[in-house]
Symmetry: C2
């Protein structure tokens, strides 16, 4: 949360002068977002969003993220679009950090998505996958199965501080994932972090997608699995099959899933739960108690993982034969 | 800094439905501001600013602050204006906190105000003082001379942790202020916190004033003294007489100062420095080391206090006879 990097009025005015965006009329630091510093910027021509990339984002990845936003927008996705400066650059520097100015996307994310919103999210995800086709840049998923064990080992000694017996349970999950993780599924550009706070709605329909800073190349069905975890569980960690069915039907309406993708869903969802458990557990153990940012509860994702572990058939997710 | 209170999309939509402001299109938490939670709110009709008042602001004071914004705006001050709901209320409740929706004021505050900006600030301050005339509500200044000793006593035992000998020096200042603080100066509504971050400029000219949450009834010249401290010292704590002269000339162009106000300036400026020293020292000693909000350096205001202590004649501030 919070503005990590203060930008002065002079520095911002100088920065904006190299763009054709008119004259600065106001700027305010935006709270929320733990990775980067964000400002809402108004000029006499319109509203923009300025991001300064802090150290958790690798500079080398920025051309991928910014290029993807442009590519997706050109292919019909409503998302923030990087603004080019007069020299044609989208990646710049401000306050000694990589920085980019993007268009301000109006929209509201929902705290508690309903069934129809899950259906629309499924469609939007599939459209995003189709829009990613033909994008020239590549980025490996640093948080896929091979990245999980090193992450776990960085806090393994303290894992039982979160819950007793955790180290052993996670060790078992990792071993299984490393053996069984599917390698032959259709690949593409995935969002990899399409949680409700990264999706805007107008009533029941998705109106925009934001925050492409985990996007990468990976199995498309893995993105579906991430969304099942992020959208279809209730606050008490129970799986809402109606929402799951709506999401999957929405998705398959736009992009048909292959049989091997569908068969892999329980494992992908279990792996996705493990991935978010691991990053949350890491943050949980490494956030000072006094910090203003409350880390998210890792156990929420452990409960989801256990749900998927018990799934014996994909019909448990609500995907009926007719939707495939 | 930061959003203290999270407002859900449903709660905000319900809240806005009782206003005639159109339909919510986006809202974002604003970083910065240690007292309250602020959101930038867009609807299809325009831009607004939503404030949830946290516990440092007394609910009983809110009618004064909100009423003053309306009164000042009606009298020509460019400032945020509270929006009335359909029942005519400006003070509402949201997320279990007092809340108010105000118009979004475009504008940029400057980090390093120049001489011409100080001149414009002086004029704007005097216009604000005139605009306050006739405002029906009253609010005592809780941070005037009688409030300083209790504040000091709350951290006196640790004062020497900030700088050696501090407790003794401050004790002496308090005793002197309590004896000599002037009581017969022209009174009115003062802003009491008109620092550069609460003033918007368009080039060299003040375009707007914000953050009325310290406003109260007190000596008008005390407000001038606060501004001398906030605007006319350089980063190395040296007093810039050119800026001081510009500010005072700007002020007296709009509102003539009486002889006793001018004569009291060194004491008022010294007292104002003490007041900001005390609140900063309190925050300095009471902010956890790991907090994201870095407290402001109290010693900056001790250095200013010492400057004023050595002033023997108001001409030191740059106020020549012709400007009075």
């Amino acid at each position: 949360m919070a503005v990590y990097t203060q930008v002065s009025d002079e520095a911002l005015s100088r920065f904006l002068a190299s763009y054709d965006v008119g004259r600065l009329t106001s700027f305010k630091g935006i709270a929320g977002g733990v990775e980067n510093t964000n400002y809402s910027v108004h000029t006499d021509r319109g509203a923009y969003f300025l991001t300064l990339y802090e150290k958790r984002v690798a500079r080398a990845d920025l051309p991928f993220f910014l290029g993807l936003m442009e590519h997706a927008a050109r292919n019909g996705i409503n998302c923030p679009v990087p603004v080019h400066d007069r020299q044609g650059r989208v990646l710049r520097e401000l306050a000694h950090r990589p920085a980019a100015l993007v268009t301000f996307l109006e929209g509201i994310s929902v705290n508690k998505p309903g069934v129809r919103q899950c259906a629309s999210l499924g469609e939007a995800l599939a459209r995003f996958h189709r829009a990613g086709e033909g994008f020239g840049l590549k980025r490996a998923n640093a948080l896929s199965v091979t990245g999980w064990r090193p992450l776990f080992e960085s806090f393994q000694a303290h894992a039982d501080d979160i819950a007793r017996g955790l180290a052993k349970e996670i060790e078992g999950e990792l071993t299984l994932m490393e053996r069984q993780w599917p390698k032959d599924l259709p690949q593409g550009v995935i969002h990899a972090d399409l949680f409700p706070d990264n999706v805007f709605f107008l009533d029941q329909n998705v109106s925009g997608l934001i925050d492409f800073y985990f996007a990468c190349n990976d199995a498309l069905a893995y993105d579906v699995a991430i969304c099942l975890n992020a959208w279809c569980f209730e606050a008490d960690s129970s799986y809402n099959m109606t929402k799951g069915r709506a999401l999957l039907r929405g998705y398959t309406k736009v992009r048909k899933m292959q049989d091997n993708e569908i068969a892999a869903l329980p494992l992908l969802a279990r792996g996705s739960a493990l991935r978010f458990f691991l990053t949350r557990a890491f943050d949980w153990l490494n956030t000072p108690k006094e910090a203003l940012v409350r880390p998210k509860d890792p156990l929420e994702y452990l409960r989801k993982l256990r749900f998927h572990r018990d799934v014996t058939d994909v019909s448990a997710y609500g995907l009926a034969g007719d939707a495939r």
